[in-house]
Each structure stands twice: as structure tokens, then as C-alpha cells.
Amino acid sequence: MPFAESLWGNLVQDLPLLVPVLFLWIVGTLMLWPLGSWLLKSMPKRQWSGITFVVLLVTLVLVFRTPAGQGFSGMFQVDGLTTGFQILAIVAAAITVILSQPQLNALKEQSVEYYALILFSTSGMMLLVGATDLVSLYMALELMALCIYILVGYLREQDRGIEAGIKYFLLGAFSSGLLVYGMSLIFAAAGGKTTNLAALNQALALAPRNAELMIFTGVILVLAGFGFKVAAVPFHMWSPDVYDGAPTPITAFLSTAPKAAALGAFVRLFGTAFNGVHGDWAAPLSFMAAASMILGNIAALRQQSMKRLLAYSSIAHVGYMLLAVLSHDAQAGAQAIWLYMLTYLLMQGGVFAVIIYLQGKGEGERIEDFRGLSKRRPMLAFAMLVFMLSLGGIPPMLGFFAKFYLFKLAIEQGFVTLTVLAFLTSAISAYYYLNVVATMYFKEAPEGEAQPMGSGLSIVVFATCLLVLVGTCLGPWLMDWTARIVLV
């Protein structure tokens, strides 16, 4: 059986690349199987999130130990970009898992499946950022998204939960339809011979002139599909509703991990396969970036709900990050996005920890609820102040350095108009972030006090606050250093 032998040989050779992903699959499956769920059910429910957290930490170690290389007939590649964005996905999942514990306890909705789905979704993201083939890219994207559809609709006893789940699912399915039709057009235009990204780039360069329309349509459809995944204007309409209706820890997850993974794949796909047809997608993508910055920031101005405010502001942040996708230098673009996403992840995790801390039982997420927080809980208010200033990109906070890096790259690449627009809109964003700060420090506290929810959260709040503050002091050096160790 020479065929089986060569198959086995290739598998043994390539498997080391997938060790972290396989580890997540095995643990996730064990959690769902009778034995694993029996073991888990014999211990207190509140420990499940701790176990999941440890699993994610082990995965993080495995990611650092994975050798660089390419395998599975050019389907999957481990390089700096893969490792870097895998780390982002795991850190985001770990923050989500810690945030989930108190919230799900309060709602009495702890279940093994919830944590297993987070693990499976994370494994999808880890595959997505390393995918170097249309087939593996689509498969990983669906693995990531399918798990998140369920997580968004997880509180199915609440009207808002199921509504958010249905909305996210229908638009997500529609967008993956656009994406895969776009991919099929690209595949057809390239002669129907290959789905490998690097080979596609060469094949598209040789495509006959009458295939130009097909390539253009395909690229635009793929762009739209990715636009849905990262919630860029004009494909953003699901995001505020879904952020609002999903369980708060899942909102935190949704606003960081899938965006990081999708942006990583975005850079790889457009930097490799569509590099030769840069002219086809540069203008639409610039439009998407500009529209996201403007609309995201302006719509955030009039929000009363904290989760919706964060939804619109995250649309704006994606707009800034799309500037780096536009760059002709995929490596530098990936680096800028990685740094931005890392700081965004920390700030966002901290803000959501504060929100969950304040939520009594699924309520209390309006900006008004932050009135007088500086008197009631001074430390918490200070942490929120740090996160808000940092999200607004006000120097010398960590968020400022990330933005500085990104805008510097955009100017070097010659996108001066877009960068000026980004500066102006981020000045608008300072208004609504500072509005929250003003509410905390200068408005009187309401009657009655929200019920505090647990000590795990305060650890998250203070750890991220500390990280952001340390980053503030050592900002520029730290940025250079982290970028160098990860994205070589």
C-alpha cells in the first residue's frame, strides 16, 4: 500500500504544526463525551472556567513550541503571522472564560458545552490565521463562526438572546454564501486548477483579459464576506444588535477574538493571493475603512447603552485596522494590526470585566449606571478611566502607541487622506469615551447599589489595568520588543 504509506508519512511529518489545535480538539471532545462530562460534573460548576483557562494556557505554551513550517499539501502554514494571531485568539478566549464564570453563575446557566464551544471556536481561529489555501481558509472560518452562532444565542430563554442569535446566524450564513461564491469565481478565473493562495496569485496574473470582470466580482464578494466577519461599514448592521443581545462575556469574545483572526486571514489572503490584483480591491477597501471610521464614531456619540457604544466604537477601531490591510507591505501591515489588536484586546477585556462586575443579574449596562462610580468604587472607576483614555488613544496611554504605529505605517504607505480622516475621527471618539469618564466622576450616584459579583473579575480588572499602565510607561520599547519576538 504505497499510497497509504505515503499518506501516513506525510501526516507524521506535518502533524507537529497542528499540535496546539489538536490539543484543543481532544480536550473539547473529551469535555463533551460521557467520561469527561461525568468527571466535570463531579466537581463544583464554578471550577469549570478555571479548568478551561488552564487548558488555554497549555495551548499557549504549545503555540510557542510549534516549529515554523508548511504542511498538509500547502494547506496550512506556521509562521510569524500564524503564531502571533494564534496568541491573540487564545488570550481573548482566556479572558472570556474568566469573565464567563461569574456571569453564568449569576444566571444559573453554567454548562460544559459553553466552554467546549469556546475551545472549538478558538481552534477554528487558530486554523484560520494559518490557512494558506481557499479550502482550509473557508473550513476554518466556518468552524469559528458556527460555534459563535450558538454562543451568541446561548441564553435561549431570553427574547433578546435568541433574537441576537438568529440575526447573527442569518447574516453570517449570508456572508459566507457571498464569500464562497466569490472564492469559486476566483478559482474559475484562475483556470480551475488550484486553490492554493500563492499559486492563485500566479494564476491570476496569467488570466486572460476576458476574465477581468470575473476576478473583480470575485474579489469584491470575498471582500464583502470578510467585511461581515470583521463588521466593517457597510456590512456592520448586525454588530450593535448582536453585541447588545449576546451574553456579555460572549460580547467581549466577539469584539476581539474573531476580529483578530479574521483580520489575520484578511492580511494573508489579500497580501498573498490578491497581491497582483491590488488595483481591484484597494479603492473599495479604502472606502470601507473610511466609512467605518466615520460612521462608527458618529453613531457611538448618541448611544445610551454601554454595549452598543462599544459595538460602534469597535466598528471604528476595525476601520483604523483596515488601513494596515491596505498596505502594500503585508508583513508590516500584519505587525501593526497585531500590536493594535493586542492593546485593544486588553482594554476591551478590562472594560467588559467592569461592565460584568456592575451587572446585577444581566441588567445595568447603561452608561447612566456608571454615575458616581468614583465614590462607590474608586479603584474600579480608576481602572475604567485608564481603559477609556487608552481606547480613545490619548497619549501617553498604551492605546496611543498602538494607534501611532498604525498611522505611521499608513502615512509611510502614502495613505495621507485616510490617515488625516483617522486622526479627525479619533478626536471624535475621545468625546464619547470621556463622556463615560465624566459620568463616573462628576454625576451623583443613583439610589441603591448594584450587587457585586465575585473576585475573579477584580483580578482581571486589575491585571489588565496594570498591563495597560505598564505599557504606558514603557510603551515604545515594549511595542518594538513584542513585535520582534512574535512576528519575525
Binding site: M139, R156, G165, I166, F187, P240
Partner: protein, 100 residues
């Protein structure tokens, strides 16, 4: 052999019907079916061009798309059932709590 232009035309028609259905129809189940049409339009392209060039990459892709479509439908139907239990309707116009 069927000319490739006609394959592209048919798949484009299928895709357009799917997109139009998603945008026009308000029944969650019909929207799901229209998404399936969009995926199958893509499958048609993939298979036809793989056959045209005599390689198998596209056919493997089409098989994978079918499998993922089935998984997607399973989750979608579960969500629709949950919606129906809660609201007694599968019309997406009926869900409008989240706004702003």
C-alpha cells in the same frame, strides 16, 4: 461539453435568486433555503471548472462546502426552533427588540 460561459450564467442566476430571496423574503426558513442556493451556485462553479481543467481541487472544495452547509443548516434550524418556541413565529419581522 457545455461551454463555460453557460455554466457561469446558470450559477450567476442561482446566486442572484439566492441573494434576492435573502433580501426579500421574511421567513427564516426560506432565508435559510436561499443561502443554500447561494452555496450551491458556488458548488456548480467549483465542480464545472475543476472538470474543465481536469484537476480535483475544486471537487474536493465542493464536497467540503456541502458538508459545512449541512452543519450550518443544523445550527440554523436549532436557532429557528428556539425562536419558534419563544415567539410562536419564524418571521424575522417579528423580532425587533434590539434597535438603535
Amino acid at each position: 461539453m457545455v461551454p463555460m460561459n453557460q455554466v457561469l450564467l446558470v450559477s450567476f442566476l442561482l446566486f442572484s435568486i439566492g441573494v434576492a430571496g435573502v433580501l426579500i423574503r421574511r421567513n427564516a426558513l426560506i432565508i435559510l433555503m436561499c443561502v443554500e442556493l447561494m452555496l450551491n451556485a458556488a458548488n456548480l462553479n467549483l465542480i464545472a471548472f475543476a472538470r474543465h481543467s481536469g484537476t480535483v481541487a475544486g471537487q474536493a472544495f465542493a464536497l467540503l462546502v456541502m458538508g459545512l452547509a449541512a452543519a450550518e443548516v443544523a445550527i440554523g434550524l436549532a436557532l429557528v426552533v428556539a425562536l419558534y418556541r419563544k415567539k410562536d413565529t419564524v418571521q424575522v419581522d417579528g423580532i425587533n427588540l434590539l434597535k438603535g
